[in-house]
Every structure is written in C-alpha cells, then in structure tokens.
C-alpha cells in the first residue's frame, strides 16, 4: 500500500483518539466500530469490516474480531499493525499458559496479558481493544482495554472511531439479562447506526457469539443491514 501519495487532510479522529497522538495520518488503521454486549449466558462481539489509510479503504472485508483462544476473542481498533502484533503475542503466551494450566484459560488472564503490553508500551502503541469470552469461573465477560493500559470490566462497551456516535444509543437500549437473539439484534442495530455516520466505519458486520455451548460466527453483508447506510 503506497503511503504518502494521498493528500487528504489528516482525519480528526483515528479510533476516537485525537490525531496528534497518531504516528502518521495515512498509517493503516482500523478506523472502526467495535462493540461487545453481554447477555444471559454469554457475550456477543461485533465489528465493521473497513480498514482505512487516511481516506482510502484498504480492505472492505477485514476481520477485526480475532481469536485469542477457544472461547476468548478480541475486537481490535487502532493501528492494524499494533493490534495484530499484540494479538499474536498474547495468543502465543496464552496457549503456553493454557497447556501448563491443563485447562481453558480465563478471560481475565487474556485481558491482563493485553493490558500488560498496553501499559508497558503505552508511548509506542495505538491500540484500543475489547476482550470478551466465556470461561467456567465467571461465565461471559467483557473487558474494555482503552489506550493507556487500563483494564475495566463492563457489561457493554463500544470502541473505535464510530463508538462516539452510539454511546447514547447504548445507554438507551442496553438491558441486562437479554436473550442471545436480543443481544445479537442490538449489536447489529448499534453497529449499523455507527457505520451510517462514521466515515471510517463501513462494509459488512461480523459478529461472534460466545457462550458455554460454543462459538458461532455470522456475517451480515453491507447491503443487508437494518439501517440505510
């Protein structure tokens, strides 16, 4: 991907962070909307599929929800390079940890590993993550890992540049102990609204639902979303 050939002005936000914090305006980032919603018995992770570099859409079918372990996934926003590298490291360490432990790792462990990297390299990284999954100890969990290196357990959260447009909608619509279908529909609705207004979010909606019964992945094509984009 040729860099520096596009003369579009620097985006004011890259993933909800003022662009003064970015390394370069045309760095490949996942200008993005990511979110996670918990329901009674599990969690739903959802993300759009647009990867942008400045004003150009580098990939319109990207995968921003990555597997960290069998029942632990991460939604990535920020620099594509940083988040991919972090995911690879944590996947590696968590795999070894799980082998030594002799059982599936806990979601909290995965979140803490990510937090460690975030905090130790906070001056170099641009990465905002949502770690979510299911484990036998605490059931479905969602951890928000914003820029800076903090880790905050939440019931519902959104990240990326598109998240600012749906903060209010989340407050209005989210309820505890929804059914799986309600949670999936809510996630789809929230993402569609964000994608409708955020230039850096778009494409399709990918959704991953994690519970005790397993993991299911669904994709909603760009022209089949509930709200007109």
């Amino acid at each position: 991907m040729a860099s520096g050939t596009l003369s579009a002005p620097a985006p004011p936000f890259v993933m909800g962070v003022p662009s003064a914090a970015c390394s370069r305006a045309d760095e490949v980032g996942t200008g993005t909307t990511i979110l996670a919603v918990s329901y009674k018995g599990g969690v739903v992770l959802a993300a759009d599929t647009r990867t942008s570099a400045g004003a150009y859409v580098v990939n319109r079918a990207s995968r921003k929800i990555s597997k960290v372990h069998d029942k632990i996934y991460v939604c990535r926003s920020g620099s594509a390079a940083d988040t991919q590298a972090l995911t690879q490291f944590v996947k590696y360490y968590l795999n070894i940890h799980s082998l030594e432990l002799g059982e599936l790792p806990s979601v909290n462990t995965a979140a803490t590993l990510f937090q460690s990297f975030h905090y130790d390299y906070k001056d170099m990284l641009m990465s905002g993550l949502i770690v979510a999954g299911w484990d036998g100890k605490r059931g479905g969990q969602i951890y928000s890992l914003p820029i800076g290196g903090s880790k905050i357990k939440v019931n519902v959260t959104a990240g990326g540049s598109g998240s600012v447009y749906i903060s209010g909608l989340i407050d209005a619509l989210y309820k505890e102990d929804m059914t799986k279908e309600e949670a999936q529909q809510l996630a789809l609705k929230l993402l569609s609204h964000a994608m409708a207004r955020d230039a850096s979010s778009g494409g399709m909606v990918r959704m991953t639902t994690i519970s005790e019964d397993g993991v299911e992945e669904t994709t909603f094509e760009g022209d089949k979303l509930p709200t007109p984009a």
């Binding site: 909800g16 490291f89 360490y93 130790d120 906070k122 820029i147 903090s150």
Partner: protein
C-alpha cells in the same frame, strides 16, 4: 514468557529512562519499533483515561476518603462505575485521581509489596505513613526520569504506633505531606474552601461524611467530569471499611430557575 513479563511496569528501570539498544531478543519478542535515538522513554506524557476529585478528611477516631466512580476518556464520561480505592495492608487505603492505568499499575505494585510483607510472618505491619513515604519516593523517582505516574493519591489510614488517624497526599511530582483535610483535582479548588469553613477536628464520622457529600454535590454541579455516584472508605483502629456506591441527590428547583424566560421579573437576567 519471562523475557517480556520481567520488564512489566516500566521498561528497563536500570536504564534511567534511556532507550534500550543492546538486546536484540527484546526487540524480536516485544516487536516494538523502538525509538532508536537516545530519547528518554516516556510513558504517561499526557493522561488518557482520567479520574476526577478525591477528598479526604480526618474525624474524631478515623479518616474518611470519598471519590466519585467515574473514569473519563478525554471529554467523554466513558466508564461510570469504576472503583478508585486500593487497600494496602490492614489499615491503609489509597484513592487516586489522574491517569487510571497508572493507578491500576500502582495497585499491583502496592499489593506485591503487601504480599512481600505478609510472607515475612514477622508480626510487623506497615504504618500508613511508611506506605506514603514509599509511594512518595516512587513518584519522585519516576518524575526524575521525566516519566511520571500521572496521579494524585490521597492515603487514609490508622497509625498504630501513635494511635491516631492518618491522612496523606502524594502527587505526580513526588510531593508528599500529611494533612487534616485534603483534596485532589477540581476538589482542591471547590472543596477546600468549604472544608476550611466547616472542618472541626472533633467531628463524628457521620458529620464528616455529610460534609464530604456536600463537597461532592458542589463538584457534581461545577465539575464537568464529576458524577453523582460516590463511594467512600473509612480507616479506623478497627481497620478499613469500603462503602457501597451511593447516589447524591441534587437540587434544581429554585423558583427563579424554573420560571420561563418570558415571565421573569424585570430585575432578573434573561441569559
């Protein structure tokens, strides 16, 4: 696993802030595009996830520290129910304002210190003034590396040796001092004058709590990042007690404020 995790916290603390050249392994494992120049490593150059005011005051028989439960992301009130207290040992509690990730790191650090003390099994436990001194030196050391922990900490505890309450303040520069009442963040502007007027050393716990709630009400009205959900911790000779989250009531029903603009008396301002 060890190679990366041993550098947890601050990278290469023995390098006094200068970037690390020699270890190829580190670059490979940690994969960072390292600042290859001789620049000091900077962690929190500007706070990202921040928490607001903490206020503490001594009363007759203990110390009480109160804070709200919010963590902001710039101008956005992003997280509404976070706990901002950390208990260290059996009779000290620390509350922080400023960068939340640094507070979370320091919580780990203090708990590790706590564990190291506990395994000694020597019957000794740290005084709050000792923990405050430790934190103060830690903060000063980091600031001297131009890499501060971006926090203001208020520490409440019970001094066993002198059988009296303790209240201390430590901030990102390493400033450390004990006081009878102290506030951080916006509270240092809004709450301190209220406390100067109404504080008495012989207050009961309930009076102290009411005074703090009054301060936080003022802060909710006047601090953009202030929330009305608060939590407090009390340190007495019996130990530390952390309260549940409660919501402050606020007042908006002043007659003049509710009057429609078109019906305001002539003397009133219509702005």
């Amino acid at each position: 696993m060890e190679d990366c995790l041993r550098l947890r916290g601050r990278r290469a603390p023995d390098n006094y802030g200068y970037s690390y050249h020699g270890d190829y392994n580190q670059h490979v494992l940690c994969g960072s595009a390292v600042s290859s120049g001789q620049e000091p490593i900077k962690h929190t150059t500007r706070p990202i996830t921040t928490s607001s005011t903490v206020i503490g005051l001594k009363f007759n028989g203990g110390t009480i520290v109160m804070s709200d439960t919010g963590v902001c992301y710039g101008n956005m009130l992003r997280f509404k129910s976070c706990e901002r207290f950390c208990q260290v040992g059996d009779r000290t509690v620390v509350a922080a304002s400023g960068e939340y990730s640094d507070f979370q790191y320091l919580t780990r650090d203090l708990k590790e210190m706590d564990t190291r003390d506990w395994v000694q099994e020597d019957g000794c436990s740290r005084e709050p003034s000792s923990i405050a001194a430790y934190l103060g030196r830690t903060f000063y050391g980091q600031r001297s590396r131009l890499d501060p922990y971006w926090n203001q900490m208020i520490m409440a505890g019970w001094q066993k040796t002198s059988n009296e309450p303790y209240l201390g303040y430590i901030d990102l520069y390493g400033t450390t001092f004990p006081e009878d009442y102290i506030a951080s963040g916006f509270g240092s502007y809004l709450a301190i004058p209220l406390l100067r007027k109404e504080y008495r050393p012989d207050m009961t716990e309930d009076e102290a709590k009411a005074l703090l709630q009054k301060c936080f009400m003022a802060l909710f009205y006047r601090d953009c990042t202030g929330l009305s959900t608060v939590q407090y911790a009390v340190a007495t000779s019996a130990g530390i007690r952390l309260s549940d989250v409660s919501t402050l009531t606020h007042k908006w029903d002043y007659k003049l404020w509710l009057t429609p603009t078109s019906q305001l008396p002539v003397s009133a301002s219509s702005w």
